[in-house]
Every structure is written in C-alpha cells, then in structure tokens.
C-alpha cells in the first residue's frame, strides 16, 4: 500500500504548480487552468485521506468537487469572454478599472 504521505506530497506539488502558474502568467485561460490544478490538489487530499481512514465521505466530496469544478470552468470561461470583449484581449493585468 502506498503510504498517505506520498499522496500529500503529490498534492502539495500540484498545488504549488498551480500557484506558480497563477503568479507568473497573465493569460486568463492559463489562470483558469492553474486554479483547476489547485482545486485538484485539494481533491487529491480528500481522496487520499478518505482512502487512509477507510471512509468514503471524502471520495464523495471529491466527486462533488469535480462537478463544482466543471460549473466553475463554465463561469470562468464566461468571464474570460466578457474580459476579451471589453479589454480586447485576455491579459488579466489590463483589467484594472475595479479599483479605488
């Protein structure tokens, strides 16, 4: 049996990749992908602990999270479309009208 720590390390690695993408990229689509990575890192944790404790609740939550991620992508794509229409591109640093 694979020990739980490995899963956690994997999850942490995926999460960090997601954060790295979030901090370095300016493309909104890449942003969305990075967020998906972070979400899945959390999912891995849920499933890993569920497996570790022999309790299916975590896995159920994982399934829910996937459905939620799908919905989130739909919303995110919609926002990106609007961004593109208003700012002629998908560079998130151009959209700075929502400040002070």
């Amino acid at each position: 049996m694979v020990p739980a720590q490995y899963y956690l390390v994997l999850s942490a690695a995926v999460f960090c990749i997601g954060i790295f993408g979030l901090l370095t990229r300016r493309n909104a689509l890449l942003f969305l992908m990075s967020v998906e990575l972070m979400l899945n890192a959390a999912n891995i944790n849920l499933v890993a602990f569920s497996y570790y404790w022999g309790n299916v609740t975590g896995q159920t939550f994982g399934l829910f999270t996937m459905a939620l991620a799908a919905a989130e992508v739909a919303v995110g794509i919609g926002i990106i479309l609007v961004l593109y229409r208003n700012f002629d591109g998908v560079d998130v640093t151009n959209a700075t009208t929502m400040r002070w």
């Binding site: 954060i19 979030l22 901090l23 300016r26 942003f31 998130v92 640093t93 959209a95 700075t96 009208t97 929502m98 400040r99 002070w100």
Partner: protein, 678 residues
C-alpha cells in the same frame, strides 16, 4: 351630596372657557368677546365667594385630580390637584374680583377707544386669569410651577398687545426673559424638592414642608446633596425656589421688567400688578411658608431683599413723570413690604398686605387708566393738573387708593403695612444674633420707605388732580361711561374698608377682638395654619424667632407720622396752582433716580460685557477644541484611507500574490509557534 367645593375646578375652567370662546369666536361676537370674559370671571367670582363661605364653615378641599406621570415603583408621582384652604380661597376671591372689574373696565378702555385685536386681548385676559387661578389652587409645587410659567407667558402676550409699536414688544420680551431667568432657579428648586422629599405636595400626608420639619426633628431621613446637612440643604432649596419669586414679584435685582411692562394696556397693568403675575411670587412663599419657616438664612435674605426693594423702588418713584411709572415703582415697593413681612415671620401681615394691596393697586391702576382715557393717552403728569373738578368719581376713588397706598389711617394700606413693620420690629428686637439685626436693618429700610411712599403718592395725586390744568387736553378731558366708573367705585370702597378686617393696633388699644384675618388664616388644614407657622418659626429646629412683645401702637404711630410727613411735604410742594419740578433740586441724584440707578444699563452691561465674551470664549472652545478633535479624527482617517487604498491596484495578479504571501506568512507563523522546525 356634592358640596360647593366640588365645583372648585369650575373657578379655573370658566375663564379658560372664555379664553377659548374669545379666541375662536371673539371676532363674531359683540364687544370682541368681552361679554364672555365678563360672564366667566363673574361666574368664577360667585363660585369663589361660595367657596370662601364653605371654607369659613370649616371645610377644606385637597383633591387629587389627575396623575400625568409616575416614577419607577411609584417613587414619585406628578399630579394635578386642587388645594382649597383659607389662604387660597381668600386669594381666589381677590383674583376673580379684580379680574371681573378689569374686564368691565376694559370695555371702557379698549372697546370704547376703538382698539383693534380685541378678541386677542380678551383671550389673553381669560387665559391670564385662568392660569393665575390654577396657580392659586395648585396642590403641589410642580403644578404651581407650570401655571407660574403660564402666567408669565400671558403677561408676555398682553404686555406686547400693541405689537406694531416700538416699545411694547421689547418690554414684553424683557418681562418674559427677566422672569424666566428667575424661574430657571425655581425649576431647579422644584426638581430639588422632588429629589429631597419624593413629593412636592403643599398639604396632606406627603406635604414637603411637614416632611422637612420632621427631618429636622430627626424623625426620618431625607436625601440631601452636595454633602450638606439638612438645614443647609433646605436653605439651598428655599433660595432656589426664591429665585422664581424674586423674578415674578419684581424684587431687586430682577425688578427691571416691571416698569417697562407699563407699555401694555392699563387694565392689563392693573391685573398684573394687583392680582396676578406679581402677586404669584409672594403667594408662592406664603403657600410654602412652612418650609421657609424652617430656614433662618432664607428668612433673613427674604427680609433683606424685601426691605431693600421697598426703599429702593420708593426712591425711584419720587422723580418719575408718567403716572403709570410712579405706580409701577410703588408696586415693586409694596411687594417689597410683603417680602419683608414674610421674611420677618409676619405671615398673616404679609397676606393681609397682599389682600389690601390687590384692591388699592387695582384701583390706582384703573384710576390711572381713567385719567389716561381723559388725557387722550398722554401719561405725563406735568401735562395734567386740575382734573379734580372734571372727574370727581375718579378723583375720590383715586384718593382713596392713594391714602391706602401711603398708609394713612384708616385706609386699608395703613393696617397691613403697619402690621408688617410691627412684625419686623417685634421679631427684630426679640430675636437673638445676626437674624435679629438683619430684621432691624430691613425694618429701618421699610420705615424710611414709608416716608417716600407718602411723598410720591401725593406728588402724583396733586400733580394729576390739583392745581391748574397744564395742557389743552387737561382743560377739556375726554369723558367715559359707567364701565369705567363702576370698577373704580367698587374698588374705592374696598380700598377704604378692607383694612378693617385686621386692626391689630386698635385691638391693642381697646381690647376688643378685631384681628379677624388672624382667625381666618388659623383655620383649615392644620399644617397650613398661621399658628402652626408661628410654632415652627419659634421652635428650635425652625428659624428660632422670638417676639419682643412690644405693643403695636407706638410703631404704628411712627409709621403713620412718617407717611403723613411724606404726604405733607408733597402737599407743601405740589398742591399749588402752578407746581414746578422740585425734584430738580436733587441735582445729579435726580438723574440717577430717573435712570433707575442705571439698573438696566448694568444688566445690559452684564449681558454684553460679561456674558457675551464668555459665550464667545465657550463658542471658540466648542468650535476649536471639541469640534477640532472630531474633525481631526475624521481628517486623519481620510488621509490614511487615501494612502492605504493604493493597495487596491485592480491587477488580479497582485491580489493573488498578496494572498499567497499572506498564506505563506500564516504557515510560517503557525509553524514557528507550533514548533514544526524545532
């Protein structure tokens, strides 16, 4: 069976009804609502007489009518109630009688002279009478205070009746503000009475004078404040209430409003000076005399203020040119006598003077009103003269009032003023220590004032009615009808005979019982009787007065001689065909007297020279320091917010970076504290 006393509320409500009628329907009625006023006050007068007889049969009435607020756990309740005892029933008769005569006289003074705004005038008179009557029958101090204020308001409305002219509105404002200044202390006094005793009733089981007396006997405790003992605290409370009295009764130094109040219509002056407004102050002291009798310091101050005012006002009356001004100063002076009498323990004497003064001063004002009608509203005595032949009824009535005012035997004023002076001398000689000295000083001032009173009264009479006419109008005076003569005749008789109810010197001389007013004020509710007050005054816990037991004949002769000397001097100087202004010989003293000792000037100076700079400084403090702190806090917040808001760049990557940094910092912090890296 319903006794006559159950109708007592109607005495108050009838004039109030006439106020409503005159206000609402006066313009559609003949005589501008005067008839409603006359009817209502006459009804009140009849009821007051009936009440008077019921009280003389031994009945009293102390009835709670309405509670309009109660404190937590019924600790304090604020009530309206009626208290009818010998004092208030006597006052009811005085007020209603003077009110009805003033209403009748107004027919001649206002209606026949073609004044406009009569509904407003009669509405004012009605409300004035109603509030004074309600004040008289008040069963507690708070209710008394409320109607005291209402009386002040009505005087404001009536003094400023001719509001289109220059003088009356400002005189009205002055009267209102000056009396309000005193009432402010009265209000604090009312609150203090409630805080001390939990009740402000004048009579009954919770009467505060009785509670105060018991507290001084050590029978139960009351709340005192500022760490004072009971005696000292009662003195403070007494002085606070006295503030209102000094304002309303026009005592020094708050007397300045009264001469200016002459700007109002003359019948109003008669009402204000004889029966309402000014009488309210003295009546209040008499009403709660059981309380004042406990505090010698307050009594001393009342006596001194009264004696000083009596003399002070009398000297100013000597030089005045207008007939109403002379009367105004005589009013201040006479109320000074009443205060003197109350201060020296002469409760009956003062009440007696209140009674006689109400009649003769109403008479003098109405007589002056008749003269003013005759003179086409010229009030200057130097334009009069020789009116005796042309208006005999007015002359003899006015003479009767003048003899009473000057204190010439056997007219009313002699008996009452003399009794006050006798009480002052008697208690002044008998009482030990400083209080006795104070009484003697007050007595001396009162005695000197008798001379001045005799002088200015007869100076006024001779200038007005004797000698040769000094102007065209005096040669051919304006006539007037029964409605002017009738009140004068009634009051003229009363001014001559009222004194007979209480002739102490004659009783001393002959041994026949003649002091009926003493008996009258000894009846009724036991804690409000004259002999109870005397017991308190002479007891150890009270003021500790002692009568010297001197006879009343010699002091009476002294004051009579002084009054006659004053009148005689006036006779010598002014009862000539062509009198001249002898007061000019006084030189600069006359200027000072004519300018009322510059009282107005110094009070204006206090307002503009002292109070205004203080208010300016306080305004600066408010605008600068208080508002400055508030404004400072807000501008610091604004400035800080203006800087800190730069964090919100709108660039989503920055937010993400900050979130990540925050998360990292949180993890590091938790890790360090949790010892993960140990």
């Amino acid at each position: 069976m319903a006794g006559i006393l159950d109708f007592a509320p109607a005495i108050v409500l009838l004039p109030f009804l006439s106020f409503l009628i005159a206000l609402g329907a006066g313009r559609y009625m003949p005589k501008g609502g005067a008839l409603a006023g006359i009817g209502a006050t006459a009804g009140s007068f009849v009821l007051s007489i009936a009440t008077f007889f019921a009280v003389s049969g031994g009945q009293t009435y102390n009835q709670h009518i309405y509670t309009w607020a109660t404190g937590a756990g019924d600790a304090v309740s604020l009530d309206f109630g009626l208290l009818i005892d010998p004092l208030s029933s006597m006052m009811l008769v005085i007020v209603t009688l003077v009110a009805v005569l003033v209403h009748i006289f107004s027919l001649g003074y206002m209606n026949d002279e073609g004044e406009t705004g009569l509904p407003r005038y009669y509405a004012g008179l009605g409300l004035f009478t109603a509030s004074m009557l309600a004040f008289v029958v008040s069963s507690n101090l708070l209710m008394a205070f409320m109607f005291f204020e209402l009386v002040g308001l009505c005087s404001y409305l009536l003094i400023g009746f001719w509001f289109r002219q220059q003088g009356p509105p400002s005189a009205a404002k002055k009267a209102f503000l000056v009396t309000r200044f005193g009432d402010y202390f009265f209000l604090i006094g009312v609150v203090a009475v409630f805080a001390t005793f939990g009740s402000a009733a004048f009579a009954g089981p919770e009467a505060f004078p009785v509670l105060a007396e018991e507290a001084l006997h050590g029978e139960h405790a009351v709340n005192t404040f500022l760490g004072m003992g009971e005696q000292a605290w009662f003195t403070v409370v007494g002085l606070l209430v006295l503030g209102g009295v000094v304002g309303k009764s026009a005592q020094f130094p708050l007397h300045t409003w009264l001469p200016d109040a002459m700007e109002g219509p003359t019948p109003v002056s008669a009402l204000i000076h004889a029966a309402t407004m000014v009488a309210a102050g003295v009546y209040l002291v008499a009403r709660m005399y059981g309380f004042y009798a406990l505090t010698p310091t307050t009594l001393g101050i009342i006596a001194l203020v009264g004696g000083f005012t009596a003399l002070f006002a009398a000297t100013m009356g000597v030089v005045k040119k207008e007939i109403k001004q002379v009367l105004a100063y005589s009013t201040i002076s006479q109320y000074g006598y009443m205060m003197l009498g109350l201060g020296v323990g002469g409760y009956v004497a003062s009440t007696f003077h209140l009674l006689t003064h109400a009649f003769f001063k109403a008479l003098l004002f109405l007589g002056a009103g008749a003269v003013i009608i005759a003179m086409h509203h010229n009030e200057n005595m130097w334009d009069m003269g020789g009116l005796k032949e042309k208006m005999p009824v007015t002359y003899y009535a006015f003479l009767s009032g003048s003899l009473a005012l000057a204190g010439i035997v056997p007219f009313a004023g002699f008996w009452s003023k003399d009794e006050i002076l006798y009480e002052a001398l008697n208690h002044g000689l008998g009482t030990d220590g400083g209080l006795g000295t104070v009484f003697l000083i007050a007595y001396a001032m009162g005695l000197i004032a008798v001379f001045f009173t005799g002088f200015y009264t007869f100076r006024m009479v001779f200038l007005t009615f004797h000698g040769e006419p000094r102007s065209e109008t005096a040669r051919d005076p304006h006539g007037f009808g029964w409605n002017v003569k009738f009140p004068l005749a009634v009051l003229g008789v009363l001014a001559a005979v009222t004194g007979l109810v209480n002739m102490a010197p004659v009783e001393d001389l002959t041994g026949i019982h003649l002091t009926f007013l003493h008996d009258w004020l000894d009846g009724g509710i036991s804690s409000l009787t004259a002999h109870h007050y005397l017991e308190v005054l002479e007891s150890g816990v009270g003021a500790g007065l002692h009568p010297a037991g001197i006879g009343s004949i010699a002091p009476g002769l002294v004051s009579l001689a002084l009054a006659l000397a004053g009148a005689g001097l006036a006779y010598r100087l002014y009862n000539v065909p062509e009198p001249v202004e002898h007061t000019d010989k006084l030189g600069s003293i006359k200027t000072v007297l004519y300018n009322n000792y510059y009282q107005d000037e110094y009070q204006v100076w206090i307002a503009t020279g002292v109070v205004q700079p203080i208010s300016r400084a306080l305004d600066k403090f408010d605008q600068g320091i208080v508002d400055g702190v508030v404004n400072g806090v807000s501008s610091v917040s604004l400035f800080a917010g203006g800087r800190v808001k730069r964090i919100q760049t709108g660039v989503v990557s920055n937010y993400a970076a900050l979130l990540t940094l925050g998360l990292t910092a949180l993890l590091l912090g938790l890790g360090l504290l949790g010892g993960w890296f140990a």
